[in-house]
Each structure stands twice: as structure tokens, then as C-alpha cells.
């Protein structure tokens, strides 16, 4: 039951994510959006193309969690989320990484990748997103907490210039930049 609950929770969140993405998808593209989470890189060999009609997928595999996902798709007025939940449901049994179709949204071009491990969706990422000008961008370039050991490192002996909050002329005299400048005079 615990595994089932985890799968259900994962499906529910995937459904909500997809509904979120789908809010920007044109009506004509709904079916390809449905396929986004399922088709493409079918490494697990499941019948991922079962598509939107297979609403029994989440109903049979899931408990209250997955019906929650179906419910949220219903409120969005599209069969897409339910269908992708079904596809993800079959994916969940197999495990692997699934690349979706490239979908046009009002935010630009989106391609979704879902990673399934041990029956749970562990990651949903956007592989491809371009803005209106066709410029590649990340779906969300955001600043995350990071340990000092995880940041790009630099030793003062290896750099050619030093950035920092503006130093006064007096503070400059004792700064690393002053040492670099003096070395290159």
C-alpha cells in the first residue's frame, strides 16, 4: 500500500504539473500534449501511446491520489491530464526515462521528460523550451540554495580580475584586485 500511495502521489503531482503546462496549450495541440509525457523515447517498451481514451489506467492502478489527478484534469476541462496519467501509470510499472513530444504553448516550445524509478516518478523536467524569438531558455532559471562547496570555485592565484561590492579608493589599496593590478604593472 505504501508503494501504491507513493505512485498515486507522484501521479497526482505529475497531473497537476501537466495541467499547469496545458493551460498554455492551444486546443488543437491538446492531444500532443497528452502524448508529451508518454511517447517518444519508449525505452521501457510499454504501450505508451494508449492516449487519452485510456482513463482506466489511473483508476485501476491508483487509489485516491490518482483519482485526484483525474479530478484536477476534469476541472481543467481537458482529457489531457487524465490521459497522461494513464500513460505515466503504465510507465510507472516499467521504470525508465520518457521524452515527450515537442509541444507549442503560449510560453514557447516545450518538451517534457519524465523519469520513473521503482514505480515512482522521480523527476519531471522540461527538455526544451524556447521563447517567442526562438531563443533557448530554461523553463525556470531560478536561484536555489547552494553549499559553498557546490559553487564554481576560484583561487586568487588563478583569476585575472576580482569582483566585489564597490570598494572605496582606500579599501582598494588592500584588495585582491590591487594585488593583481600591482603584479601586472
Amino acid at each position: 500500500m505504501r508503494i501504491r500511495a507513493a505512485v498515486s502521489a507522484a501521479l497526482a503531482s505529475a497531473g497537476i504539473l501537466l495541467v499547469g503546462w496545458q493551460s498554455g496549450v492551444h486546443v488543437a495541440d491538446t492531444r500532443s500534449a497528452v502524448a508529451a509525457a508518454s511517447t517518444g523515447n519508449e525505452t521501457a517498451g510499454t504501450s505508451a501511446g494508449t492516449g487519452s481514451s485510456d482513463t482506466s489506467g489511473p483508476a485501476s492502478s491508483g487509489t485516491s491520489g490518482s483519482s485526484g489527478a483525474a479530478g484536477s484534469s476534469g476541472s481543467a476541462g481537458s482529457s489531457g491530464a487524465a490521459g497522461s496519467s494513464a500513460a505515466a501509470g503504465s510507465a510507472a510499472k516499467a521504470g525508465g526515462t520518457y521524452d515527450g513530444d515537442i509541444v507549442q504553448t503560449r510560453f514557447g516550445t516545450v518538451q517534457v521528460q519524465v523519469t520513473v524509478k521503482a514505480g515512482a516518478i522521480t523527476d519531471v523536467t522540461a527538455l526544451k523550451l524556447t521563447d517567442a524569438e526562438g531563443r533557448s531558455m530554461q523553463i525556470s532559471n531560478y536561484a536555489a540554495p547552494i553549499l559553498r562547496s557546490e559553487v564554481l570555485q576560484a583561487q586568487s592565484a588563478e583569476v585575472q580580475t576580482v569582483g566585489g561590492a564597490t570598494v572605496t579608493s582606500n579599501a582598494y589599496l588592500t584588495s585582491l584586485q590591487a594585488a593583481l593590478d600591482a603584479a601586472n604593472l
Binding site: Q155, T161, G163, G164, A165, T168, S169, D181
Partner: protein
């Protein structure tokens, strides 16, 4: 950042004081020039940059009673009568104020127009244009901790300039590094060699790195609403000096909300140090 050998031909630097800080121009000596010719070229280039900074400081400094900015501040001059340059920078500052939802503003709490948050970045941009006009492709300009580069420290290699960012807790040590400039295929572009992270492939277009702090010069950045700044230090890497400088200032003033807005709306990388020393970073600052 693994590359530790210095460029084969060495770097030369010249400095001058302006805008209350020290500005340095660093150039590779170059393989095809006699040392004296390279020195002359650097001297001439520094003189051009210094004149440009001095002229802008003479117009926009509020520390100079005779500047146009000071006369505006005292009400002796209205914006309508102000110089084209003053009005152009005022317009630019107003646009940034809108774009940052007020986090960047050219108006001091006492109501005085203060364009100094924009002028250093603007001066660096103008200096870059002048250096390119002189035919100089490889240089690094550092204005009191804000950096603008062109080309490479080792001409022709495509190698990026390596910039360090000081640790605000200990200014003798570096908190992080960041590659600026360089060319595709250059040694430092190994950072993006995996090709997997979209954030890193853009590192070659990062020419400018600006850092703002809330602990320097007696808290010269005011947080929105008069509260204490959330960040101790914020560094922004961008394609141009003005964007980097303005957004670094805006994030210190506007906190996490402005940081998220900047990362989402602009093509920039951000490294922010919280008051307690914890770090926030966009993907480009991850190793």
C-alpha cells in the same frame, strides 16, 4: 577554473582613480608586439577610458558641488533644462525602475535624483565601445569590483577571463569564480563542454559581472520599504555592464522576490549571499 597557467605573453594593467574608487584596465601584452608598443597601447587606452569616466563623473557626481547632478539636486536646474545626456540617463533609470518594479530607483529616500547606480555601468559600457573603436579586442576593465571584459587574456586562444568574487565575510578570500568572455572552443568553455545544461552554454555571452553589497560604503543600497537588506552581497553576470550592475543593485534592494524576477526575466546568472552567509545561486554558478 582548472586552468592555472598564465597566458604565455603576460598581462599588463594600468589603474586610475575616479567615482570614488579605483578603475583598472588589464590587457594581454600580445604575441606580435614589442613590450614598449604594448605598454604604449595600454597607456593610450587607459587615458581614453579615464577621460570618459572623468567626464561622466563631472556631470553626474553628487559629491561635486559644481556638477549638473548637484545643481539638479539643489533645484537650480530643472530636468527640462538639463543636458541631453542627463535626460537620457534619467529616462534609462526610469525604464529600469519600471522593469524592476521599483527595486532599482534613481531617487534617494530624500527625494534627490541620484543616477550613480547607473552611471558606473554606463561608463563601463561606453568605455567598452571606445576600446573596440580603438581596435582593441582583448581587455578586462574592473571598476571598483564591477567587471567588463572583451575577448581573452590569451589572444586567439578563446580562453575566458577568469573572474573571482570576493567573500563578503573575508575580503582576502574568494567565494566563487566565474568565466567571462572567451570564445566557443576556448579552454574555459570546458565548463559547458557537457552540452547538457542550457544555462552553461550561454556563459560565453557573459561579458559583465557586477556585484552589489549592503555592507560597503555604509549601506549605500536602500532596501525597498526601508527595511534591512536581505542579502549581504549579490553578483550578477550578464551580457552587458548596465544590466549586470542595475540588477545586482535591484536584488540587494528587492530581496528574494527581485532575485527570482531577475533570474526569470533576464538572461543572467546570479550568486547571492544571504545575511547569514548562506548562498543562493542560479545554475551557471554551480560547478
Amino acid at each position: 577554473m582548472q586552468q592555472t597557467s598564465e597566458p604565455r605573453h603576460g598581462l599588463r594593467a594600468r589603474t586610475f582613480s575616479c567615482m570614488g574608487t579605483v578603475i583598472s584596465l588589464t590587457m594581454p601584452a600580445g604575441p606580435h608586439k614589442a613590450p614598449h608598443a604594448a605598454d604604449d597601447e595600454l597607456e593610450a587606452a587607459t587615458a581614453v577610458v579615464e577621460r570618459l569616466f572623468a567626464r561622466l563623473d563631472g556631470t553626474f557626481s553628487l559629491y561635486r558641488p559644481d556638477s549638473e547632478a548637484s545643481r539638479l539636486g539643489r533645484g537650480e536646474l530643472g530636468l527640462q533644462e538639463a543636458s541631453d545626456e542627463m535626460r537620457a540617463r534619467y529616462t534609462e533609470a526610469s525604464e529600469w525602475r519600471l522593469l524592476t518594479e521599483g527595486a532599482f530607483t534613481a531617487e534617494r529616500p530624500d527625494g534627490i535624483l541620484d543616477l550613480s547606480g547607473l552611471i558606473k555601468g554606463h561608463a563601463m559600457k561606453e568605455a567598452g565601445i571606445s576600446l573596440h573603436a580603438l581596435g582593441l579586442e582583448d581587455w578586462c576593465l574592473n571598476a571598483g569590483g564591477d567587471v567588463l571584459v572583451s575577448g581573452s587574456p590569451d589572444p586567439g586562444s578563446g580562453e575566458a577571463w577568469r573572474a573571482g568574487i570576493v567573500d563578503p565575510a573575508d575580503r582576502r578570500t574568494l567565494l566563487a569564480g566565474f568565466p567571462l568572455g572567451g570564445l566557443p572552443g576556448g579552454l574555459a568553455s570546458g565548463l559547458a563542454a557537457d552540452g547538457g545544461a542550457p544555462g552553461n552554454t550561454a556563459s560565453r555571452s557573459r561579458m559583465a559581472l557586477a556585484t552589489s553589497g549592503s555592507a560597503e560604503r555604509g549601506d549605500h543600497i536602500w532596501a525597498a520599504g526601508g527595511r534591512a537588506a536581505e542579502f549581504w552581497q549579490v553578483s550578477v553576470a550578464a551580457a552587458d555592464a548596465v544590466t549586470a550592475d542595475v540588477l545586482a543593485t535591484a536584488i540587494v534592494a528587492g530581496g528574494t522576490a527581485m532575485l527570482n524576477r531577475a533570474a526569470e526575466l533576464w538572461d543572467v546568472e546570479v550568486l547571492a549571499v544571504r545575511r547569514d552567509g548562506d548562498l543562493l545561486a542560479t545554475a551557471g554558478f554551480r560547478r
